[in-house]
């Protein structure tokens, strides 16, 4: 399969996930927390993927779980890219004291390991799903600021920026119309790779039980099934679906990310991948 084909398939898979997440109530006969049948029923006509130990329908949990998983994956990635682009462009463009100050602050923040910090912060503030995704977004933006800044530093010296300044364009105009389109490829690559990274991290966080278990997402489902010995009892329909769902979206995002990188990153493009 060629890269183009892989990219198309990945985008299609991603769209399917989004449609399922948005139209969740259309697909599901029961709510995610509703006890709708006997516990531990195998897949059948009533329950497409069977039921868990409480008698909740696994298919419904899976579909509603997509909402939460996608929410924290993409919200946090969007926020992180937004912050790193804005801050990176502003400090790269103005330079001088602002740049020096923010860069030193980032130097201080970079060595702090993100995952443990996230664990400590969630343990301390016990936030909800939305707050955690905001937190992940803010923490995940730090690395991106450096990348965008280094791009903008060289862009700010180019003649088209100088030309724009000479005809009296305002700083905001230059930043939004001349610099932003030029860093857009990097931003796109960063967004896709970041959303994959943060989505998997979010599922991991809920797998180790970081947020309250009343919100059902894929990580919680895997955790529930694994800790109650779902697989050991031969209850494959309980453990496999959420895992496969995570793998599907993570693979699709990874493939899109690499295809983008290949397209936009001249360094990788030198020797054809």
């Amino acid at each position: 399969m060629s890269r183009k084909m892989i990219l198309r398939v990945s985008v299609a898979v991603l769209c399917v996930y989004f449609v399922i997440a948005i139209c969740a109530p259309l697909f599901t006969p029961f709510g995610p927390a509703e006890i709708s049948g006997k516990p531990l029923q195998p897949p059948g006509n009533d329950h497409l993927l069977g039921t868990n130990d409480l008698g909740q329908d696994i298919f419904c949990q899976l579909v509603y779980g997509a909402r939460i998983t996608l929410l924290f994956g993409f919200c946090s990635a969007l926020l992180s890219v937004l912050i790193s682009t804005t801050v990176g462009i502003v400090i790269g463009y103005y330079g001088g004291f602002v740049d020096e100050f923010v860069s030193r602050c980032i130097d201080i923040l970079v060595p702090i390991p993100m995952f443990p910090l996230l664990i400590v912060l969630t343990a301390f503030f016990s936030p909800g799903v939305l707050q955690i995704s905001l937190l992940m977004g803010v923490l995940g933006s730090i690395h991106g600021i450096r990348i965008i800044r280094s791009q903008v530093l060289s862009l700010a010296q180019t003649s088209f920026v100088e030309g724009a300044r000479a005809i009296g364009a305002s700083d905001f105009h230059i930043m939004s119309r001349h610099i932003l389109p030029n860093v857009m490829p990097v931003v796109m690559v960063k967004f896709v790779s970041q959303s994959q990274h943060l989505l998997v991290m979010g599922v991991g966080l809920s797998f180790i039980g970081l947020w309250d278990t009343t919100t059902v997402d894929w990580g919680t489902m895997i955790q529930n099934s694994y800790s109650s010995g779902g697989m050991a009892l031969g209850l494959w329909w309980w453990l496999l679906p959420p895992g496969i769902a995570v793998i599907g979206i993570s693979l699709a995002l990874a493939m899109i990310g690499y295809s983008f990188e290949e397209k936009f990153n001249p360094r990788v493009g030198v020797n054809r991948i």
Binding site: P113, I208, G209, S250, L251, V270
Partner: protein, 296 residues
């Protein structure tokens, strides 16, 4: 995840919360002070080497972490060394052959491996190799025989095989990317073209020109990976119930044992700062193009 340690603990014992007990606990650990005051107290304690007491284990945090760290090291030391070696060799080979069919196959395989969450690999490994094939134990660090025979090293190693191989696998894929990218950018350099134009044989170019330069970014990555050892591997240790720092973290999290969590996090941060410093110094020692201080 709401609640703090004492309310959780008391509620698991009885249904009502004795107010005096909660107040006493707060007072004993200084939790009734304002946050700023608590922070100043924490800082001054850290400066004096007092890392605080764990709520759940009632022992000093530092010695507890150190004890668990030695267990984590059993897994992570071999995994890190092996992972770095395998990843570097595979990445170098793949980068040198970049664009070829074999390189593409390995590269795509690595993307797929990387995209699947770590804990999922771990669960699947337990299910397949331990549960269905029964080649390895399901988890833990020793078998039940320890009660009669005492802790035996072969037994512990036997329990460590599966987690170590999984971690090796992961560390290797991470290194593979860095090494491959580095190799690709090095063989695009002009000095490689020059070497070819001089008529050097390919093997000589690979060993003397390409590999040496491509290995430079690996220094930074390697020091970082050694720093990451301290955190243990939360997912793999949790899935395999290996009594290391990673499992300690999830336990502390479950019990809301804040001093313990803070201790683990602090140690982790200190390690990564040291690793950054070490990476900078090493890079400037090895690469003459990077200089420290004087002429920046």
């Amino acid at each position: 995840m709401p609640g703090d340690y004492i309310t959780n603990y008391l509620l698991s014992l009885t249904n009502h919360l004795p107010k005096e007990a909660v107040d006493q606990f707060y007072h004993q650990f200084g939790l009734d002070l304002p946050l700023t005051e608590q922070y100043v107290l924490y800082l001054s304690n850290i400066m004096q080497g007092e890392w605080g007491y764990s709520y759940a284990y009632s022992v000093p945090v530092f010695s507890l972490i150190m004890e668990k760290l030695s267990w984590s090291l059993i897994l992570l030391l071999p995994a890190t060394v092996l992972g770095i070696l395998i990843g570097t060799v595979l990445g170098a080979w793949s980068g040198w052959k970049s664009g070829g069919k074999k390189d593409l196959a390995v590269f795509n395989l690595m993307i797929v491996i990387r995209a699947i969450p770590e804990f999922w690999w771990a669960i699947m490994a337990v299910v397949v190799f331990a549960f269905y094939l029964k080649w390895f134990p399901l988890g833990g660090y020793t078998s039940i025989d320890i009660l009669y025979t005492g802790l035996s090293i072969p037994d512990v190693l036997y329990h460590a095989v599966l987690p170590v191989s999984l971690m090796t696998f992961f560390i290797a894929t991470g290194n593979y990317y860095v090494m491959r990218n580095s190799m690709i950018s090095v063989i695009g350099e002009e000095y490689i073209t020059t070497a070819r134009a001089k008529g050097l044989d390919e093997r000589g170019i690979l060993w003397n020109h390409a590999l040496k330069n491509a290995l430079l970014p690996m220094i930074t990555i390697t020091t970082f990976q050694f720093a990451a050892i301290i955190m243990g591997n939360v997912f793999i240790e949790t899935v395999f119930s290996w009594p290391g720092v990673g499992l300690l973290t999830t336990e502390a999290l479950r019990l809301r044992d804040l001093p313990l969590l803070e201790g683990i996090f602090l140690l982790d941060t200190l390690f990564s700062i040291t690793a950054m410093l070490a990476a900078d110094v090493l890079c400037s020692l090895i690469d003459p193009r990077i200089r420290m201080g004087e002429d920046v």
